[in-house]
Symmetry: C2
Subunit: 356 residues, 2 copies
Amino acid sequence: MKVTALIMAGGKGERFWPRSRVNLPKQFLSLTDDGKTMIQLTVERISPIVDIEDVYIATNKNYKELVMQQLPGIPEQNILCEPIGRNTAPCIGLGAVHVASKYDDAVMIVLPSDHLIKNNEIFVDTFKEACEVAIKGENLVTVGITPNYPETGYGYVKYDESKKDGNAREVEKFVEKPDLETAKSYLADGSYLWNSGMFTWKISTILDCFKKYMPSTYEGLLKIKESIGTESEDAVLEAEFPNLESQSVDYGIMEKAENIFILPGNFGWDDVGSWLAVGRIKKNDENNNVINGNVVAVNTKDCVIEGSDKLIATVGLRDIIVVDTQDAILISTKENAGEIKQVLANLREGGKENYL
Amino acid sequence: MKVTALIMAGGKGERFWPRSRVNLPKQFLSLTDDGKTMIQLTVERISPIVDIEDVYIATNKNYKELVMQQLPGIPEQNILCEPIGRNTAPCIGLGAVHVASKYDDAVMIVLPSDHLIKNNEIFVDTFKEACEVAIKGENLVTVGITPNYPETGYGYVKYDESKKDGNAREVEKFVEKPDLETAKSYLADGSYLWNSGMFTWKISTILDCFKKYMPSTYEGLLKIKESIGTESEDAVLEAEFPNLESQSVDYGIMEKAENIFILPGNFGWDDVGSWLAVGRIKKNDENNNVINGNVVAVNTKDCVIEGSDKLIATVGLRDIIVVDTQDAILISTKENAGEIKQVLANLREGGKENYL
């Protein structure tokens, strides 16, 4: 059976401000030493199992040009522009009906566009197995990350160790982001994986799930499907998509469906959630700094300094993130990096939208 | 008797990098909220007792243009350009022979160009009294600052409380920068003042001191004096000045001379020794930050942020100094601000002299 991929690339990635901007979110940035952008790496990673003409990008109109520039091999009709963000369920549904209009049935791998993977071979092997599990029944397959600390920022998936098929385990339940104590108990339990938002299923399986668990969304998706390739395609999408229920696929389908399997993803996963991640990903110097650009660092340790042309001189810094761009520079402690969103709020309130 | 002033403006002021540069040292910068430069404030402060045509600026060729721009009222012949820096004794000697070539005798007030004074009225009153003490005998008068903490970065002057004349006390001795224990004992003793480098004396008195304590320097100064106003003035200065002994007036004269008096200067003195001083001088906000420029500060306290056009966003910072200029930005802890000189050394070594 044909294997296709839907790469979700509509996110704003605000936590990488000032490099990420409204018009250049995180998935279109290079945050690694190889110079490739996150979405380029994502498409390249999946290329051993998905032909480029079967890769679909779900994004929005503002980013279509960026996708075409960064991924010239992707057919333009595979760039799906959501008129408005409606969370992951409608996004996946849109991808599914596009694939359904091309193939009678096919496997669809769903991937975020802004995660990093250390070992691409293991990644590919994992998704090969996910495809097998998806093909052999009406199964929804997710890939979970083996947790190595009690993270409270991710959802978890509990599996049933007694119901195994190869590396796949049957999922017992999806759980929301836990508090620290709960997260610790999940880690101790050993049968919980991080919900990574990566899925594999047949188009027929996921559309059946929409029909069963999100029937009104399914109706809308069918109308969109009928319009694909016709003159009214854009108009129908504009009319129908905003009416679809804004819902995550986790809540809308995964938490309700049966036949859900999970594969542990032990391929070195990083969701690159903030500038802190760059300290983990990029090459560190002898003072545990990640430094790029025109920088003179004196008595500076454990810092991330992403410079540009301007000379940045640092003295005595510890655990500080510095990100310079042409019109804005961010200086944040690592500890408070999450408060960057407050900077963006202040810019909005202060009429400085040009920096967003 | 005529009162003149010699303002010493040849310093490099490296500790205010990146605002201060080789071609724009601290005395030519505005570090206060009023927008006036340090040297402009110095000349303005002394104006109630010294006519502008009797103000002399000792500097070097590179800064002559800056002096003329910032102080258009000063006669060009009063801008004395040292061919090379030879410390304060030759500098003061050069000023003295220039005044001597204009007036038979006069009082000369010697002032650094880069200190700040809170109360200008008390400052003027102090120097009025200094002039009186200088005129009434062959006295060398210095103004000392009442210490309010055991600073180890300044020299001290010990006076003899029993030998008073108005507010002036006879100086017992000049002492070098002390260690902390010694500084504490000076503070406890109560008869030590900080050596501020501000002096008042008659031209005849100081030239007699040069003759007595620095005779070879005196010979050179006489040759320079004879050339003033002649065609060979520049050539003689170029030939003689570099041969003068490089020596501070404190060591060369004050520590050896008699008839030295000191006046306590209680006018709110700050030598603005580093960016730390800006936190003391400028207006603080409710989080004890001094912020200028295009800045969004989130959860930021006790910082000095001197911005320019570029947006500076800070998150979670404490006790950090940020100074942005067109081509360079400094980010330093307050604690390590003294290590800025290491930045400059690294720039020199790294062939980045254009940033100096």
